[in-house]
C-alpha cells in the first residue's frame, strides 16, 4: 500500500522506478532517474505517507483505548476536547504569527491544556467518574469551539481566515521530515504505553467499580491511558489538523475482525488505521487536480461505513 501510494500522484512516476528509488537508500543502485523524481518521492511523498501512517495509527489506537476506558463504543479520541483545544491553538497561532512551527506547537499545547481542563473539572471526591469526564469534555470542547469561531470572525477574511478553515479541515499537506522526526518519538512512546497496558483496558471496560473489586488501581490506570492517548492524539492533530471519524470507525472494524478483547483490538486498530489513512490521503491528493482536505474525505467515507456497521450490529444483536 505504501509503495503503491508513493507511485501515485500528480507527477507520473512508474511503480518500478519508485521501488528502485526507495531501495537506493539502502542498496547502492545506479540512478536512472532525475533529481526531481527522487525529490518527489523522498521529500514530498515519503514524509507525507509516514505522517499518514503515524496519524492514522495513533488516532485509531487512541480511539480504541478511549472507547474501552469510557465503556462506550461511540466515543472518539476527541471526546475530552483535544481537537477543539488544538483547533483553537492553531487558529490563534495562524492569527498572531505566520510560522508553521508555532502553529504546530500551540495547537499541541492547547490540545493538552483542554484535556487537562476537562480532567480537572471532572474530579470529585478524588475520583473521575466516566460520566463527569464526558460532560466536562463537552463543556471544554464547546468553549474552545466558540473561541475558534470568534477568532475566525475577527480574522482577516482574505488570507488568515481561509488558512484557519483549511487547517481545521485537516490535511497532511504541510508535513515535513522535521515534523516526523520530532513527533515520531512521541508517537512511539505513547503507543508503546498503550500497547503495554492494553489487556488492562478490558478491566476498565467493565466499569470502574468492578475493576476495583478485581484489584485494579483504576484512577492511576485511567490517568495513564488518558494521558498517553491524549498526547498521541494531540501530536496527530498538531501536524495534520482535525481528521475526524477514524478514531471511532477503525476500532469498530477491528472489533468485527478480532472481537472486543483489547489485547488484540489495539494492535489491529493501529495497523488498519495506518493503512486506511494512507489510502484516503492517496485518494485526497490524486482524485482531483487540487487536493481535497482529508478531513472531508474521512467523514464522507466514514459516515456510510459507520451507518452500515451500526445496522449490521443491530441485526446481529
Amino acid at each position: 500500500m505504501v509503495i503503491f501510494s508513493l507511485g501515485c500522484g500528480r507527477v507520473d512516476i512508474s511503480f518500478v522506478q519508485t521501488l528502485k528509488i526507495l531501495l537506493s537508500s539502502v542498496f547502492p543502485l545506479t540512478p536512472d532517474w532525475s533529481a526531481t523524481t527522487w525529490s518527489v518521492i523522498m521529500d514530498v511523498r515519503l514524509p507525507r505517507i509516514m505522517a499518514g501512517m503515524m496519524v492514522g495509527g495513533a488516532l485509531s489506537i487512541s480511539g480504541a483505548a478511549f472507547q474501552g476506558v469510557f465503556q462506550n463504543p461511540l466515543v472518539s479520541p476527541h471526546i475530552l476536547g483535544v481537537a477543539a483545544g488544538a483547533g483553537f491553538g492553531a487558529a490563534l497561532a495562524i492569527l498572531l504569527f505566520d510560522n508553521i512551527w508555532l502553529i504546530h506547537l500551540t495547537s499541541f499545547v492547547f490540545g493538552l491544556a483542554s484535556v487537562a481542563m476537562a480532567y480537572t473539572l471532572s474530579r470529585v471526591y478524588k475520583m473521575t467518574p466516566v460520566l463527569m469526564l464526558v460532560l466536562s469534555g463537552i463543556v471544554v470542547g464547546s468553549l474552545f469551539s466558540a473561541l475558534t469561531s470568534f477568532l475566525k470572525y475577527i480574522a482577516d477574511p482574505m488570507n488568515k481566515m481561509p488558512a484557519i478553515v483549511f487547517w481545521l479541515l485537516g490535511s497532511l499537506n504541510h508535513v515535513s521530515f522535521k515534523d516526523i522526526l520530532i513527533t515520531a518519538p512521541v508517537f512511539i512512546v505513547c503507543i508503546s504505553v498503550l500497547l503495554l497496558v492494553r489487556w488492562r483496558i478490558n478491566l476498565l471496560a467493565m466499569g470502574d467499580e468492578d475493576a476495583r473489586t478485581l484489584g485494579v488501581n483504576t484512577e492511576a490506570l485511567k490517568l495513564l491511558i488518558i494521558v498517553s492517548a491524549t498526547i498521541a492524539t494531540a501530536s496527530a492533530v498538531c501536524i495534520s489538523g482535525i481528521i475526524g471519524w477514524i478514531g471511532i470507525m477503525i476500532p469498530h472494524i477491528g472489533r468485527l475482525l478480532v472481537g472486543p478483547d483489547h489485547k488484540y483490538l489495539l494492535p489491529v486498530s493501529m495497523v488498519i488505521g495506518a493503512a486506511y489513512l494512507v489510502t484516503v490521503d492517496t485518494i485526497a491528493r490524486t482524485a482531483l487536480a487540487t487536493e481535497i482536505p482529508i478531513g472531508i474525505l474521512t467523514a464522507i467515507f466514514g459516515a456510510p461505513v459507520f451507518a452500515f456497521l451500526l445496522r449490521k450490529t443491530q441485526k446481529a444483536g
Binding site: 471496560a205 467499580e209 473489586t213 472486543p260 444483536g317
Partner: protein
Amino acid sequence: MHGRIDIRRLAFGYTERDCIFSDINILLEPGQVFCLLGPNGSGKSTLLKCIMQLLIPAAGSVRIDGEALSGLDANDIAGKLGFVPQTLVSAFPFTVAEIVVMGRASQIRMTASPAKKDRDMAMASLEKMGIVHLAHRPCNQLSGGEWQQVLIARALTHSPKVLLLDEPTSHLDIGNQIKILEIVNSLAKDGITIIMASHFPDHAFLTAHQVGILKNGRLLALGNPDDTLCEDVLFDTYGIHIRVLKVEEDINRKICIPVLHPHTRTLVKEVS
C-alpha cells in the same frame, strides 16, 4: 484454615451528617455463611461495598485473619476478598472466557496479559461452576443464572478467602436461585467465608450460619437463623405478617410463609 472476618463498629455515610448505617459488628469463622437481610434501600449493597473498601467507611474496621483492610491497595484486597456484583452490564460483548480471566488481574503484572496459567485457572473456575460449555459465548447472550455463575467463577479465579455476594439470586427463577444457593453452600464447605445479601428470609434457612437484618442503619437480630428469624422480627423488618413453620421429615428446616391480608386475598379470588 483462613478467612476469619471481623467487622467492628463499621459506619458509613455519603456526607458527614447523614449516616447510612453505623455500629455494624460481624464476626465470621472460616467457611461460615452470613445472610444479610433487610428491606429495599436499607443499605445492604452499601454495606458490602464498604466491607470491600469500594466505599471508604466513616468509622470502624474490617479485618481478615487479623489484618485490617483500610490502607491496603486494591490489589491486596482482591487477594483476600472476592466481590460478586448484583448487576453488571458489559459495554462490549466479551466472551465468558475473557470475562473470567479478568479475575486474575490482581496476580498479573501491570504490563502483562494473562498467561496460559491464568487461562487454565479461569477454565478450572468454569469447570467448578459447571459452565465450561459457555466459555466462548459472548457475555451479552447469557441468561441471568448463567451470568451470575460466570461472575462467581470470575471471583474464584483470584482465590479469595472471603466472598461477598450482592443479592446473587435477584432476577432468577426458583430453579436458578436454588442452584446458586447450592453453589454458595459448596463454596462454604471448601472453606470460603461468605457474606450474602438477600431479599428472601428463606435463603437464610437454606444457607446461613448467621443472619443479620439491616434496618434504619442498624444491624438487628444477629444470630443463627433458627433462633433469630421469628415472626415478630420479620414483621418489624418487612411490615407484613410472615409465619415461620418448621417442616419435619426429610426437609427438616424452617420455612417462611407470608400471610396475606384478608381483603387482598378475597380480591385476588374475585379476579381469578
